[in-house]
């Protein structure tokens, strides 16, 4: 009987690992795109780059996070046994996750935006652009990673059913 209630996310993990891989691929593309943006200064490309980067980041972090969240699979099975459908658990969990992740991504994107304004305000040469790009990698990327990691760290300590707990 003990094994019977261990129903969970095990099959979903593979999907989220693939999402993580997808994120890496998208991020590499965005890096190339960003370099092109710096040289061409076409604003639409910048906006598209940000959008793709954000989506990729959300997907990748979601993938990584669901690997962490595998530990909740036992709990989900247990609650399903007493009568909560799985969608109820997953929905509560995802709403909470997406809200926190959006906030953490916003910090990273804000840094990105500030740097972009700085770059486009000056008429710089190609070599200067390359230096700026290097600076971007060294400063903005770690900031983005740190902000998303902070979101991940918070998530690993927060609890699904937050909304329910508040009612008690």
């Amino acid at each position: 009987m003990r094994d019977l209630i261990k129903i969970g996310l095990s099959r979903s993990r593979a999907v989220f690992i693939l999402l993580g891989a997808l994120y890496l691929a998208v991020y590499l593309q965005v890096s190339v795109l960003f370099f092109l943006i710096l040289t061409s200064k076409i604003q639409m490309l910048v906006i598209s780059g940000y959008t793709i980067g954000t989506l990729g980041l959300l997907g990748g972090i979601t993938g990584a996070h669901f690997l962490v969240a595998g530990k909740y699979s036992y709990e989900m099975g247990n609650l399903e046994t007493i009568g909560f459908p799985r969608w109820f658990y997953i929905t509560t969990y995802l709403i909470q996750f997406v809200l926190v992740q959006l906030i953490s991504c916003l910090v990273g994107l804000l840094c990105f935006q500030i740097l972009y304004i700085f770059i486009t305000s000056d008429n710089v040469s190609f070599s200067q652009l390359a230096i700026v790009h290097l600076k971007t990698i060294l400063t903005v990327l770690p900031l983005q990673v740190i902000s998303c990691a902070a979101g991940l760290w918070y998530q690993s300590r927060s609890e699904p059913f937050l909304l329910i707990k508040e009612r008690i």
Binding site: M1, R2, I5, L79, T81, G83, F84, R86
Partner: protein, 225 residues
């Protein structure tokens, strides 16, 4: 209330099929108190698990009320468990991050969505008084002894006020005083019109049942009472 219609259950391990249930049929009506006894491995727990919809019979059907639970979706089965069944497991497991009060609330909530919290508090008082678990309410399951955990698992099953109680070894980790308490609780539930299907090795607990079935080799071997 529950109709088990000629069910067979096969477990397959390493290519070997184990015939756990062999054509078991059983009707459980409101107010029925049925005990399943028999040696380990005779299929008692498998039968309870099949009724809860956590495993499927390979052949045959199980109805709870008008729902054929082996032919409906996973979510629908969860909803039926929420509405109709209070389940006591052999190994009492509860989500460890919630206190006992929160675990009991989750169980109650599964059957009483949208109802006022005061109704839960009233029911909680009643159940706590019956099982003497007041001091355990703010403790997390990981800090409880086996016996305390078993009592809270019984509380989790009865707090829902569900019409069916499915119990797999409810007195497994309990001392004689608490076994007596549990016997009284189950007796009260029967008087309130509930149905109980219970697996037990405890002769005294089994003697309270209206009907005792002995299972051997996955079949109802004998009706002892």
């Amino acid at each position: 209330m529950i109709r088990i219609n000629n069910i067979h259950l096969y477990y397959r391990q390493h290519g070997i099929a184990l015939h756990a249930l062999r054509g078991v049929s059983l009707d459980i009506n409101p107010g029925d108190y049925i005990a399943l006894v028999g040696p380990s491995g005779s299929g008692k727990s498998s039968l309870i698990a099949a009724v809860t919809g956590l495993i499927f019979p390979s052949e045959g059907d199980i109805f709870i009320d008008r729902f054929r639970i082996n032919r409906i979706s996973r979510n629908a089965r969860a909803k039926i468990r929420a509405k109709y069944c209070g389940i006591i497991f052999q190994f009492s497991e509860m989500p460890g991050r919630f206190t006992i009060r929160e675990n009991l609330y989750l169980s109650w909530l599964s059957a009483h969505r949208g109802k006022d919290l005061s109704e839960f508090e009233e029911r909680l008082e009643l159940v706590c008084a019956k099982l003497d678990i007041h001091p355990l309410l703010e403790i997390r399951p990981g800090n409880l002894s086996g016996g305390q955990l078993q009592k809270t698992a019984i509380a989790r099953a009865i707090i829902k006020d569900a019409p069916i109680i499915l119990a797999d070894e409810p007195s497994g980790d309990l001392d004689p005083d608490n076994v007596k308490r549990v016997r009284n609780v189950l007796q009260e539930e029967i008087e309130n019109g509930k149905s109980i299907l219970m697996v037990t090795h405890d002769a005294k607990l089994a003697s309270d049942a209206h009907t005792i079935y002995e299972l051997r080799d996955g079949q109802i071997h004998n009706v002892l009472k």
